[in-house]
Symmetry: C2
Subunit: 159 residues, 2 copies
DNA sequence: TTTCGGGTTGATAATGATTTTAATTTGACA
DNA sequence: TGTCAAATTAAAATCATTATCAACCCGAAA
């Protein structure tokens, strides 16, 4: 964990940015909530618990900076807010997401499923891919189980 | 073209909505700019050219309605605005996008590239897919040609 | 024909996320 | 120690989007 912070620190330094206490607090929150998909506001509230003097604008600026350096990815699931997601270290590509339309849960797929598809796109469309975003919308395994037990109104209407 | 409007009209009627003149004007703008990815504001300005009395709120409401009925898809490329894209008639899935990080152009891929990937996700993650979003970020063929001729600063630094 | 009611609209106010501003603080370095 | 640029804060500003509400349209019932 510490080493991860250190590497991020070096990454910042290499672009002549500093890891200020505020930035460190923000990064720590991201590390401690790696499986969540926090909005800027979420991050702000969590950072505030440990460093109450931090300002919302600073959190926004830090997240923006981290996104520029590709330390985090800024994602958008269609609710009005941007969410921020740490990249796996050394990951060539951004991971994928499963968004449940029933319960809103967001699961991650770290595996790269797009290797073949990207080859097709690069060849057939002559497009040099730098990154991608892949999100599936559907029903997660938890809600599927739920529906088996106590069918919801929608589930009944589907038949 | 007219028949397309008619089908959309029927689609609306089937859910007991009307194709009011304002809604029709909005749909026409979408049809006439099918390859663009217009924001609500863009649509508003274009509709206003022919129907100056239309209100911004009405355009927003209409786009929202069309999105609900799956006539358009609401997409988000990470700039602050939602964009609206007509679905291909009868398309089971949403088409994909190529966003150029040099010039900002957005191209579409109508072909479904995700058939195999979706099978994997449904089986391995037990996730029932209803829809997807796939966007590639990279350099479009136009900008690649450009770089060959007159290399930009970035292009030089890449070497 | 008149009245009623629901759906629709347009102008405007309100909201909520994000960005900018201006003043202040910090920290490295001369 | 003094200086300067970067970073920070709180507050104001901005921008996209949504909610409000009075007015309107139009078909059905009286």
């Amino acid at each position: 964990m510490e080493s991860r912070i250190d590497r991020i620190k070096k990454h910042l330094h290499s672009q002549s940015y500093k890891l200020t206490p505020q930035r460190e607090a923000t990064v720590r929150v991201l590390l401690e909530n790696e499986e969540d998909h926090l909005s800027a506001e979420d991050v702000y509230l969590l950072v505030k618990e440990k460093s109450p003097e931090i300002g919302l604008a600073t959190v926004y600026r830090t997240l923006e900076l981290l996104a520029e350096l590709k330390i985090v990815d800024k994602i958008n699931f269609g609710d009005g807010v941007s969410r921020f997601d740490l990249r796996q270290e050394g990951a060539a590509h951004f991971h994928h997401h499963l968004v449940c339309i029933e319960c809103g849960a967001v699961d991650e797929i770290q595996e790269d499923l797009l290797g073949d598809v990207e080859k097709v796109v690069e060849n057939d469309w002559n497009f040099k891919i730098k990154d991608h975003r892949l999100t599936f919308h559907g029903i997660c395994y938890r809600c599927q189980k739920q529906e088996d037990k106590e069918p919801t109104e929608q589930a009944i209407n589907h038949t």
